[in-house]
Symmetry: C2
Subunit: 249 residues, 2 copies
Amino acid sequence: MRIGYVNVSSTTVYPFGGSAVSVEAREPVRSARRDATRERVLDAAREVFAERGVFGATVEEICDRAGFTRGAFYSNFADKDDVLEALIEREHARLVAYLDAHLDLVVGEPAPSGAGWAGGQGGLDGPEAAGLLGAMVERILASVPGDRLLSLVQTELEIHAIRQPAASRAFLDADARFRARISTFIERGIALLGRELTVDAGTVADAAVGVVERSVRRALISGGDDPDAMAREVLPALILAVSRPATAD
Amino acid sequence: MRIGYVNVSSTTVYPFGGSAVSVEAREPVRSARRDATRERVLDAAREVFAERGVFGATVEEICDRAGFTRGAFYSNFADKDDVLEALIEREHARLVAYLDAHLDLVVGEPAPSGAGWAGGQGGLDGPEAAGLLGAMVERILASVPGDRLLSLVQTELEIHAIRQPAASRAFLDADARFRARISTFIERGIALLGRELTVDAGTVADAAVGVVERSVRRALISGGDDPDAMAREVLPALILAVSRPATAD
DNA sequence: CGTATCCGATACGCATCCGTATCGTAGACG
DNA sequence: CGTCTACGATACGGATGCGTATCGGATACG
């Protein structure tokens, strides 16, 4: 097993041809060619994982899809878990970047009613707030990028993490960061409406993600055209229900 | 492949020793011994599926757990999918029976406040209704039987059904019936409070199940002691938020 | 108590997928 | 333009899990 890329801090020894090489040259072997290969394999892995599931995916199929043989694969990754880890890292980074960008959008733009988000000192209540929350939820859902099937993988990995906690550190870390993002997302959105949460933001985030995930699954099973239909209908009411007009604190 | 149990309507020919056998005697071969074996295998399958996942489970391990060899397995089931189907059938029947029994309980007993569920002609509102809903949710959650890990399998199968719809008819059928149960469950509970839903009951059921499932997963990952903590906190507010005092119709 | 049949155990071949070891070549570099 | 290394292709051995075919003991029945 020779992997020239990952685990710089491991015991892997890189073969250096030259005579004198400084110690800090022990950097990962980055060549443009290698980077391109890794990206293509990761792209293929994302597709195959989404279609077949993490367990059902084979290294062979990933390689076929990427246009490589297994030799290339094992030259770049240790095994299937290793690609999975790299993929989680990459996709998570992309998702967070996306969310951050769109959070700014949501926060920065005026409300659909044209009067700005926060309605006054006491905070919005009732149908008004529900409408604005609906618009916010709408924007967030619309902003989530990429293949809906990836949502399945997310759930699948969560289940896997329960069964094999040790083998899932990478996922659990990424998941914790993701959850933190969603939480602040919700808190800031709620604050913009002049309201405050009555339960922990993480709890709301968990519930919201659960609703969205199942919304996607339901739509995919029933052949519905809009994967977020259920979430769209329920989420605003849910978030409104676990918040109240902010007390002047 | 010789299976003397399932698929009575298939082309399987049963070996009858006697000379003259009436056509309607072509019933499944039920012996007490065979039934017991099937049950033991199903019990083992439930454990293994829950621990390893449907994909990760092997026929070998199921047999080991049941105290049989693979010979016994293939004498009773066609393959892994076949046990899975039988297991879904059995567990679903049990769950529905459980729910029905406890629905009667919830409906029949007086409210914790002692004044009966429905508060009056206009229906309950605000904190009152929330409190009663909390009690209802509490009872339902407490009544769901069995291993929490089975909730993972439920989710897993849902995902599998998306990827292999043809191979998942049994699950999809059971799931549709389950969803219908939950829906009437919610509708009746809401009606008892003198309220009515503002969205489709199936939608509420989907959202609720999504919340419960993720609640369980969150707790299992974080090592929380109460698998339903998140659901308990969020569900009453959610259901309240998608309902309103009933109009005198 | 003897016999026929049911049913689980044993043994086998097969397919799939994995990970490694080796090879050949394209591309970097002097 | 020649050399050498990086990197992907090829080839191999091995493990695992599946499904079938056959065997032998338990059980029901006369």
